[in-house]
């Protein structure tokens, strides 16, 4: 698909909290601009926040295992703090995380990095440590969303658009699409969103409308 043919429209919202329903939020702010050829994408952290999937460090009591494993993780990782590692253990299970840690350490010794995040469960790579999200969630650890595919389907059903996606995008040219509606190609969406049209958190644009997606796909296909 030619990316020139689609138009990306960031949509500003209020500060979304766990009191919001993400489908209602998208309908309110993006709905009036959406057409049947459009795809709507939403930032995964915002979906997680509406699901209440965040914790304050003050609410947590990291285990000895979390304290020890966190010491061996690269300092820029969200798992490098005891609380971040504890959240990974809570989500993935202690045995799984320990096995991932051991295997990850061995493979790293032989020059292959990133195995820990592949084995410890998808949440290990999705957790945002404190400072990872805009205020007031800058003081919280935010997990990845539950059932992103189901969320995308619920959005599409309500809005009546061509498709929907839940994406994890940052300024470091990393775009991972966690959940999409049936028929959408996650890797194609990742390429479209690679320049982070969501902007940074303070811009409060957690929704991006991909206008004319279906028409561009048809033209190409």
């Amino acid at each position: 698909m030619e990316h020139r043919q689609v138009e990306l429209i960031p949509v500003k919202t209020h500060i979304v909290t766990k009191r919001d329903n993400i489908v209602d939020v998208i309908e309110k702010y993006a709905g009036p601009q959406m057409g049947p050829d459009d795809v709507v994408s939403v930032a995964e952290s915002v979906v997680a926040i509406t699901q209440g999937r965040y914790r304050r460090p003050e609410q947590m009591s990291p285990s000895l295992l979390a304290h020890v494993l966190a010491r061996f993780v690269h300092r820029d990782s969200s798992c490098s703090s005891a609380c971040g590692m504890q959240l990974t253990i809570d989500e993935g299970g202690a045995v799984r995380v320990l096995v991932a840690f051991i295997v990850g350490g061995i493979t790293k010794f032989f020059g292959s990095s990133g195995m820990f995040y592949k084995l410890a469960g998808e949440q290990a790579a999705l957790i945002d440590d404190v400072t990872g999200t805009m205020p007031p969630f800058d003081k919280m650890l935010v997990m990845g969303p539950k059932d992103p595919g189901g969320v995308a389907e619920a959005i599409k059903a309500r809005i009546g658009c061509y498709g929907a996606a839940v994406a994890d995008v940052n300024d470091l040219k990393r775009a991972a699409v966690l959940g999409v509606t049936e028929g959408l190609d996650p890797s194609e969406l990742s390429r479209i969103l690679i320049d982070n049209p969501f902007g940074n958190g303070n811009q409060q644009t957690p929704i991006v409308i991909i206008k004319n997606y279906a028409a561009a796909a048809a033209k190409r296909g």
Binding site: P57, E58, P62, H67, V68, A70, R71, R75, S80, S81, A82, C83, D129, V130, T131, P135, P136, D138, K139
Partner: protein, 185 residues
């Protein structure tokens, strides 16, 4: 024989625990320092008939061996009404590199470099009880002030504090300087 192997196993576990403890000790953690001895002098920023706002700066840095997050910073004066009842004092701490006017300290990650990282701007607002702030501030005393900060780094989060004292003479000098500035203008 079984007991011997069990003994070896326990010794191995003990050795591993020791190695781990040494590794963690050597790795260290973030350690924030508010350099109150390098703070600036008080200035009178704003004045109305009933209110004065003073401010001063305190540089701070992470002198530890790991990067760390300053989750929150607040200034807490110890000024009981038994000692000073002429005005009510409230405080606000603002990060110079990210000045927010709402009093909210945005959690910020600081690297572990042995240099000055940022400056905390501490604002003290006095609201006169009797309505006249000049008369109220004539009765000002030395103000002990705690800078309380919350840190999240490799280890579990913790609160720490640094104390300083704002001498009453500094308040008078700040008011005098403000008067002279206004006269010159």
């Amino acid at each position: 024989m079984m007991m011997v192997y069990f003994g070896y196993f326990l010794a191995l576990l003990g050795f591993m625990a020791l190695v781990l403890a040494v590794f963690i000790w050597r790795q260290g953690d973030a350690d924030f320092l508010f350099e109150v001895d390098k703070r600036s002098q008080l200035i009178l920023e704003q004045e109305t008939p009933t209110q004065m706002v003073f401010s001063f700066n305190v540089p701070f840095r992470n002198r530890g061996s790991q990067q760390g997050t300053l989750m929150d910073v607040l200034a807490r004066p110890w000024l009981p009404e038994e000692q000073f009842s002429a005005a009510e004092i409230s405080t606000k701490v603002v990060m110079a590199s990210n000045p927010r006017m709402d009093g909210y300290w945005e959690a910020t990650l600081f690297p572990n470099e042995k240099v000055q990282h940022d400056v905390a701007i501490i604002k003290l607002q006095f609201n006169a009880h009797g309505g006249n702030i000049r008369q109220a501030m004539d009765k000002i005393v030395d103000v002990p002030l705690n800078i309380i900060y919350q840190v999240v780094a490799r280890a579990e989060w913790y609160l720490a504090k640094t104390m300083l004292e704002l001498p009453l003479e500094e308040f008078h000098i700040a008011m005098q300087n403000d008067r002279e500035r206004k006269l010159e203008a």
